[in-house]
């Protein structure tokens, strides 16, 4: 009928005229490589725990990979209490350094206030609990509530436990470095197996293989080892890596 047709046209026009970024959209975009782990993106208002099986096995890279999606899409991001963040690596993953703010580790008494202030304004906040004292139960609840109210995502890093479990937990379970031989080559890329499990929407744990980082410092999905093709870097990436590292030695270093 005429009214139905008019209604359809009106809906179509409204769909086209909608601003491209509604502030009340429910998810933040994630990098393509992480899409298998977080289908649909990062839900606003949730918290994500990033960990590795042990120190030095890719938890920081994973946190940076998580930051890359929202940051490249235009969100502001802040990192509290992580003074060792490698910023060149962040830029390689796609984090926009012009919208990243780093805050020095605050004294334990003010840590919760600082993180709450940052959650008010920044869409992604990476926070490491204060060394030694951990996070108090009241503070943890307050921060979760603040994040939910503001629609910000709290990314928890570090090995100290939080009073409440996070909505999503990402952890690196196995890594394999490529490119380094015994006295030759250089670290070119790392294959990492990342597991995601959580409370909502996760019937069982999800797993994915990523280049974390890949050649040239980029983040990418890694094809399963059965059908391995040599990674063809783009011309920009090829210019950046040393020509002559011919030996692709698979070095397997498993987490203990």
């Amino acid at each position: 009928m005429r009214s139905e047709a008019a209604l359809h046209r009106l809906e179509e026009v409204a769909g086209r005229a909608r601003p491209t970024a509604l502030a009340r959209e429910r998810v933040l975009p994630v990098a393509e490589a992480l899409a298998a782990l977080l289908p649909g993106g990062l839900v606003r208002g949730t918290s994500v725990q990033v960990s590795g099986v042990s120190e030095g096995l890719g938890s920081t890279s994973l946190a940076l990979a998580l930051l890359a999606g929202p940051s490249a899409a235009g969100s502001w991001a802040a990192a509290v209490g992580v003074p060792t963040l490698g910023l060149a690596a962040a830029a390689g993953f796609g984090v926009d350094l012009g919208r990243l703010v780093l805050v020095a580790p605050p004294p334990p008494g003010e840590w919760a206030t600082v993180v709450a202030t940052l959650l008010d304004a920044f869409e992604v906040v990476v926070a490491r609990p204060p060394v030694g004292s951990g996070v108090r139960a009241a503070d943890g609840r307050r921060l979760t509530a603040r994040a939910r109210e503001r629609g910000s995502v709290l990314v928890r890093v570090g090995n100290l436990p939080w009073p409440e479990a996070a909505d999503v937990s990402l952890s690196v379970t196995a890594t394999t470095w490529e490119g380094l031989g015994r006295g030759h080559g250089h670290l070119r890329a790392r294959r990492a197996t990342v597991e995601a499990f959580g409370r909502r929407g996760f019937t069982r744990a999800r797993q994915a293989e990523l280049w974390l980082p890949g050649p040239g410092g980029v983040l990418a999905t890694a094809p399963p080892l059965a059908e391995v093709h040599p990674f063809e870097p783009t011309r920009a990436q090829a210019r950046r890596s040393i020509p002559g590292a011919q030996h692709r030695v698979q070095v397997v270093g498993r987490a203990r």
Binding site: A23, L102, S241
Partner: protein, 535 residues
Amino acid sequence: MPVTAVRTLVVHVPDWPVVAAGARPVEPAAVVHANRVVACTEAARADGVEVGMRRRESQSRCPALTILDHDPARDTRAFEPVIAALAGRITPRIEVVVPGRAAFPTRGPSRYFGGDTALAALALELAGGVLGDRAAARIGIADGPFAALLACRPDPLVVSPLGSPAFLAPHPVGSLLLAGVPDELLDVFRRLGLRTLGAVATLPAGDVAGRFGTGGVAAHRLASGRDERPPATAPPPPDLAARVELDPPAERVDTAAFVARGLATELSGRLDADGLACTRLLIAAETEHGERLERLWRGDGSGGASALTAGAIADRLRWQLDGWLNGNESQRPTAGITLLELVPDEVVAASGRQLGFWGGTAGADERAVRAVARVAGLLGLDAVRVPEWRGGRGPAEQVLLVPAAAVDLGEERPAAREPTPVPGGEVAPWPGSLPAPAPASVPVVAEAAEVLGADGAPVRVSGRGMLSGEPARVRTGAGRWSDVVAWAGPWPVEERWWDPAGHRRRARMQVLDAAGVARLLTLESGRWEVEAVYD
């Protein structure tokens, strides 16, 4: 034609940031902010350093250049005695545009001190007395602050009343930059063949308005020697002033500055609600014992750009308090600050800003800036930092962290973007730099490490870059020993061999241990350190 310009005296000390930093004109020195030169001494200019040049280029032109960091609070603090000397003797209505430049109307003081020339000589004597031989002040008197600024000379120049158009005519069009006219407009003038202010002034006003809009009209007025301000502004209504009482009194600048931010936002909000923007502001601070410091501040820029934003107001309030509380012993207040007051002195109709729907990107920028300010108030200005690309060999040197308070977060920052190749070329790599990927964890203080060969002896790198043995075990700090599975290197780097102070010789190695942790180790002076972890 009625003269609407206010006869003004301008005191200008050129290159004030370097003078405030303590550099003498004979030494080559430059103040650098966000990787660009903001001000430089005469000796540096003689070597070819210019304002706006990049730091590395200026260093390449003048290798002996001393680089000083940009500190607006220090500039204001150092300029405060000059203002105080002039305000105390001549007139309290002295306004500061930027530290290094101050202006005041001369009608009353000129009559009191017996003429413009006598007034100029007195101002020069007062300013010279405070500055000593650090710098030479320049004084100029003319109709309107722009003409007076161009008239500034070490030997004071007084332009006769109504003589401004003739005085301004031979000046090049580029002098309008000092009044805040955008460079693009001046470029258009030059390309149209208008190279002097006189040429711009001969254009009919109506045609200029039609072709260039309000910006062009402002430039035309300045070039003709008429003042830019609208003729008779009524003083702004008194309820626009914002004041806050501090209880307990603030002894330190940080505490007062934190409150100042909220006060500036309140004032800005009140002005916005009335559709006004403030171009001149009186900032007053009062202590418990009744001492009061008042200063007039003018926004720099022209037309709408000279309106002071909340951030600019908060900055000026902070500088003024810094200058007062940390300045000269004789002028420091004896008690804490109890009252802060912001009184708009001159307002213009605001041109407004278009925000995106539901806040949008502009809203997000503002929220971020506000949160940064709040956190900086809690933890200190140095605790909140933002990254900037510097370029370097090691992972710690490539990106530098600068305090967030020193940059304008709301604006596009080219320094935060990775250097892009010039059209038709490539980004030249740093010789000796590490290949991608970059490590994700770079400790602030490098942790000591030990690398042992198969025979149990520590691994060394010879002068020719050869390893003394294959690394077999590695540990960091007091941790557990791990077997080395793979390694690469050593990659020796010798930096700044010509500089005895900055000379560094080190060798880098990438080491992968049995636990799967890949590290970047550095050997310097016989000691191994963990420079970064590929976390």
